[in-house]
């Protein structure tokens, strides 16, 4: 089962899907999404236009200094290589910035009432700090550690020195009083991967290139034609934007 470059499968258009799936409209249950699709206009013909600036690439939370640290760190976690772009080109740091500006940064759907006690590791996070506060402290500490060790800020270090700093945080070799260094690293790593692979609507995974590297086809409507195939089926990815405007 060798990988094939052949594009076996066109994304199934929603119109075609409706035609083929035998979805019954009527009766008690009307496929709501499908129902609304019937009214969708045909997509406009593609036209050559100059690339619009990416208005999403501006800061909602970080200071420029914080952004530089985070951008450099994400690139070490997910570096550019022969497979394709790294976290920096994919916009992972913008993704993290935007996430910290909203619900996630404020832990707004999480239980943040006291009293606060240190617990067992098996009881999960028990701190009083919100994610945006943890990032503030963690970024500052990365610069502090870099300066103490190499007399430079994190983003000014050589890549292998940056890796050393990240490893020191990952292993709790860096001792911090307010936050857990490894806990911060874990969050940084997880949010980097989110920034690389989440739908581009959130500001990362630019041009869906994160998905392309992984041969992930994004937000397709259906895989009924693929599911039984023995060969690997490669498709150009589709995003939620395509779903909205397609």
């Amino acid at each position: 089962m060798a990988q094939t470059d052949e594009r076996q499968e066109q994304p199934v258009s929603r119109r075609k899907f409706l035609k083929n799936s035998g979805l019954v409209l009527g009766g008690l249950v009307v496929g709501g999404v499908a129902g609304s699709l019937l009214k969708t206009k045909a997509p406009p013909a593609p036209q050559a236009a100059p690339a619009a600036p990416d208005f999403n690439q501006a800061l909602m939370y970080f200071t420029p200094e914080q952004f530089r640290v985070v951008e450099a760190a994400t690139e070490r976690i997910f570096p550019e290589d022969e497979h394709g772009p790294g976290a920096k080109t994919l916009g992972a740091a913008y993704f993290i910035d935007h996430q910290l500006a909203g619900d996630w940064g404020f832990n707004s759907r999480e239980y943040m009432q006291g009293p606060f006690y240190p617990g067992e590791a098996t009881q999960g996070y028990q701190g009083r700090l919100k994610r945006r506060e943890i990032f503030d402290i963690g970024i500052q500490e990365m610069n502090n550690y870099s300066t103490a060790k190499h007399q430079k800020r994190f983003y000014e270090l050589e890549p292998n020195q940056q890796d050393g700093v990240l490893k020191a945080f990952e292993s709790d070799e860096v001792k911090l009083t307010t936050i857990s260094a490894s806990g911060f690293f874990k969050m940084l790593r997880a949010s980097t991967l989110e920034g690389v692979y989440a739908d581009p609507l959130y500001g990362g995974n630019k041009n869906m290139d994160g998905w392309r590297m992984k041969n992930y086809p994004g937000n397709q409507m259906a895989y009924t034609q693929v599911i039984e195939q023995d060969k690997f089926v490669k498709m150009d990815p589709v995003s939620l934007r395509d779903h909205q405007h397609g």
Binding site: M1, Q3, S21, G22, L23, V24, G27, L28, V29, G31, G32, V33, A34, S36, R76, I77, F78, P79, D81, N107, R109, E110, Y111, Q113, Y117, G119, E120, A121, T122, Q123, G124, Y125, Q126, D163, E170, R189, T192, L193, E194, Y197, A198, G210, M213, K214, N215, Y216, G218, Q220, M221, A222, Y223, T224, V226, I227, E228, Q229, F232, V233, L240, H243
Partner: protein, 572 residues
């Protein structure tokens, strides 16, 4: 002073699978039913943008807002319970359809052994096989008595499947044929057959073909889009209460749903429930809804919590083993599995469905000899192709760094080249595992949170190591080039996701000494109060719980109808 509304026949607390089935069945009997749902309304149209891993899978769009209410957890009574501040081990649904919206649709029947676990274990191995603290008990109902209700739930939802060669007898085949078989599923089946095991297609609530049930609900076939667990289905192909029972109940004209209605107490006089007290969370108004019959149909935790908050039933005391509310909390042993890496093969793993897979039960229940094993029961072993999404799935062979260049290369390479064979292990109840009210932490209304006291036991560690090895053997036969076997269970940790199959707390049984409800899920102590859900399971089997929850809801609906028409009293 709470506003008092006119009395209705039946009030149900929580409109998910349990509440939906009760509403559908009781309105057919001419009863008027009010459904109180703390969350918001939901419909299929809501899922237009559902293929969003970040929003739904990683930010828990469909789950309960933990800032308002959570649970607390400790591994034993010697340490302080602390709140589950963020999601991890399990997910708690909310809103119309409840957890029935974000499930995968894996719809297994429990084994005949499950319902008579204590007597059958003693019969085959003697009483000594059961450790002192293990509080397994028979369910007060047999598989044969359950069978017609399983059949009804499977026909309601149109389950796609084929007969389990090692399962209980079926009165009729599954309503729709099995789902499509992927190459990886075929490899699993071939390997298992060579090992003389008995694989079968996983019974699926994601339909293999269009299906119309006897209530006239028509649903489309699954498109294998790979977005089931933690997502709602944009096609209505996955059975959920919003596209099955709820519209039927509403069409009767006898079912009123009130969303944003958070029930806080069950009202009672003497040994009868008189209704419920709830808060309209949009206005803060307190409202009393009187009813002849009260039915609790919320998730496991809130079923037990509402009884404890309302001072109904006898709270369980782990020191004496007496009392029943909160007793026999159980979970699932899910971590004893294996991952196989295939250098030469690349699979279309982005495609899938929540209950697309193959399973075998050779090591489940008492289908194998436990004489020389230090555990009872077992696990179903499955390969599932649920649709791999890119943020959460970065499989790398053991020894690969967790980040950086080598991690990137390996996680990209193996994204479509790694297959997991997993064991869904049963969870036996122990005297020291229970639910009660937390003395410190409160919800947004100031009511105590429910507290879980639970840890894995030697039984679970033995089981996980055993099933991990079996999963590894299957992957070896499948031709994996590297196999990582996870034998170590460790202590129960609330942070990594494991399973949303929490059970117990309001368990059923043959007598009031050992159970809270009878086999119609009627409370022994409060005859017009019925408590429906996996809260009724005296232990958890090596399967997903929903088929059994659905079957028990049908059974309870029958009992409630009988109770409403009769002259009262206990049904058993």
């Amino acid at each position: 002073m709470a506003k008092k509304l006119p009395k209705v026949d039946v009030v149900i607390v929580g409109v998910g699978w349990g509440g939906g089935i009760i509403a559908q069945e009781l309105t057919k009997q001419g009863l008027t039913v009010v459904g109180l749902e703390r969350g918001k309304e939901r419909k299929t149209e809501d899922y237009f943008m559902v293929h969003d891993e970040l929003r739904y899978a990683l930010r828990y769009e469909l789950m309960q807002d933990l800032s308002k209410e959570t649970i607390t957890f400790r591994s034993n009574t010697r340490i302080r319970a602390l709140p589950m501040r963020q999601y991890g081990s399990f997910l708690i649904g909310t809103g119309l359809g409840g957890a029935g919206v974000h499930w995968n649709g894996q719809t297994f029947r429990f084994l005949p052994y499950d319902f008579q676990i204590r007597s059958k274990t003693i019969e085959r191995y003697g009483e000594k096989k059961i450790p002192d603290n293990m509080t397994i008990q028979d369910w007060g109902i047999t598989y044969d008595e359950m069978e017609p209700y399983y059949d009804r739930f499977e026909k309601l939802t149109g389950i796609s499947g084929e007969e389990n060669p090692l399962g209980g007898k079926r009165s009729s085949p599954y309503p729709t044929p099995p789902m499509k078989q992927t190459p990886a599923m075929k490899m699993f089946a071939d390997a298992a057959t060579k090992l003389k095991l008995h694989p079968y297609m996983m019974p699926s609530a994601n339909l293999s073909q269009q299906y119309t049930n006897e209530d006239g609900v028509s649903r489309a076939a699954c498109q294998y889009c790979g977005y089931c667990e933690r997502f709602g289905c944009e096609y209505g192909a996955k059975a959920d209460p919003v596209v099955t029972v709820i519209p039927v109940a509403k069409k009767s004209g006898k079912f009123e749903i009130r969303t944003h209605s958070h029930v806080r107490r069950i009202l009672h006089t003497g040994n009868k429930a008189t209704g419920v007290l709830y808060t309209d969370v949009t206005t803060g108004e307190e409202i009393e809804q009187p009813a002849d019959i009260v039915v609790l149909t919320s998730y496991v935790f809130n079923n037990a919590r509402l009884l404890l908050l309302s001072k109904l039933g006898r709270p369980y005391d782990p020191a004496t083993g007496k009392g029943v509310i909160g007793k026999n909390y159980a979970y699932q042993v899910i971590r004893g599995g294996a991952t196989g890496f295939f250098e030469e093969k690349e699979f279309n793993l982005y495609a899938g469905a929540g209950s697309l897979g193959m399973t075998l039960d050779d090591y489940n229940g008492d289908n194998f000899d436990h004489s020389d094993l230090k555990f009872i029961h077992g696990a179903s072993i499955s390969f599932s192709q649920t649709g791999q999404r890119p943020v959460a799935n970065n499989p790398v062979p053991k020894g690969t760094p967790n980040w950086g260049k080598d991690f990137k290369a390996a996680s990209i390479k193996y994204f479509n080249r790694a297959l997991g064979v997993g064991a869904q292990g049963s969870s036996m109840p122990f005297r020291q595992h229970f639910l009660d009210l937390d003395p410190t932490y409160r919800d947004a209304f100031g009511d105590p949170l429910i507290r879980i006291t639970f840890d894995f036991e030697e039984q679970d560690r033995q089981l996980a190591a055993f099933t991990a090895d079996k999963c590894g053997e299957i992957l070896k036969e499948m031709g994996a080039t590297q196999i990582d076997v996870r034998r170590e269970l460790g202590p129960y940790d609330i942070t990594p996701y494991q399973s949303t199959h929490n059970t117990g707390g309001v368990i059923m049984g043959a007598s009031p000494d050992i159970s809270a409800v009878n086999n119609y899920l009627q409370m022994w102590d409060v005859e017009n109060l019925f408590v429906i859900g996996a809260s009724a399971f005296p232990h958890n089997s090596g399967y997903n719980p929903t088929d059994t929850v659905g079957a028990l809801a049908y059974r309870a609906a029958e009992g409630i109808a009988k109770y409403a028409k009769g002259s009262g009293g206990l049904l058993v």
